[in-house]
Point group: C2
Chain length 128, copies 2
Amino acid sequence: MKKKQFKTLYPRNIETVNGRPLDYCGIRCSMEVLGGKWKLLIVAELFKSKKRYSELKRSIPEISEKMMISSLQELEHHNIVVRTVVEAIPPQVEYSLSKYGQSVRPVLETLFGWGEGHIKKHSDKIFH
Amino acid sequence: MKKKQFKTLYPRNIETVNGRPLDYCGIRCSMEVLGGKWKLLIVAELFKSKKRYSELKRSIPEISEKMMISSLQELEHHNIVVRTVVEAIPPQVEYSLSKYGQSVRPVLETLFGWGEGHIKKHSDKIFH
DNA sequence: ATACCTACTTACTAAAATGTTAGTGCCTTA
DNA sequence: TAAGGCACTAACATTTTAGTAAGTAGGTAT
């Protein structure tokens, strides 16, 4: 069983990376850690409340098992989400936001806000 | 020459989409319009100042022609970026942010800020 | 006995995103 | 005369991301 590899394309240097300025690195880093089709949606669910795996699945039914698990594992790896096993029968696994995970709130809110605005702005074009 | 197709997976309904709540749609929409490897970096460059195509390329040299062009076309399609042809010899094409494009600033700043924080937080682990 | 629940893992496939290379036509500089 | 800048376009290849389907192991309900 080989260890799972998580990407860390973080820069080697805090000021610039290969001559790239920090804004570039910051944006890239955010997208790497929080980007992808499902991660922010999962985080949004966990902002509402901590949830068991199966509850999480029910709240985002269009996600596949595979993506749910791999997204959760990446979020856990980056210390945004905490996985807790509750000794019970049947065993329960609870996912919640870590303290650090709370820091994602502004990202979530800004993206949600912008997207909502964008939808409203273009709703006449879209809903023909 | 067939017309270029741009995705619009926008919801058909403002309140919920296939039973999905609005936060879900907003986040998805933002990621669709602004996501991807290069778009926000281009927008960040254009926040600094409007730029000609070749200047833009020079400021983000790791991007390929193809991605630069397709990203710019998508951003133009979504009315975030404005393309202006300057009649000169050789002809110049200027890209700048539209008024609507200015609304992306908070998204950019939040992602930049979070990513920068994340890099700093983990810099001890990363820079072994 | 059968089916289903839980929280996953594995192998495989499909689709989407990104990269590579070459080429366009016009003009300018060496 | 050759090379290079400009703003692209097109064909193709590769990489990355996401989806599908099945299996696991212990337990419960029918």
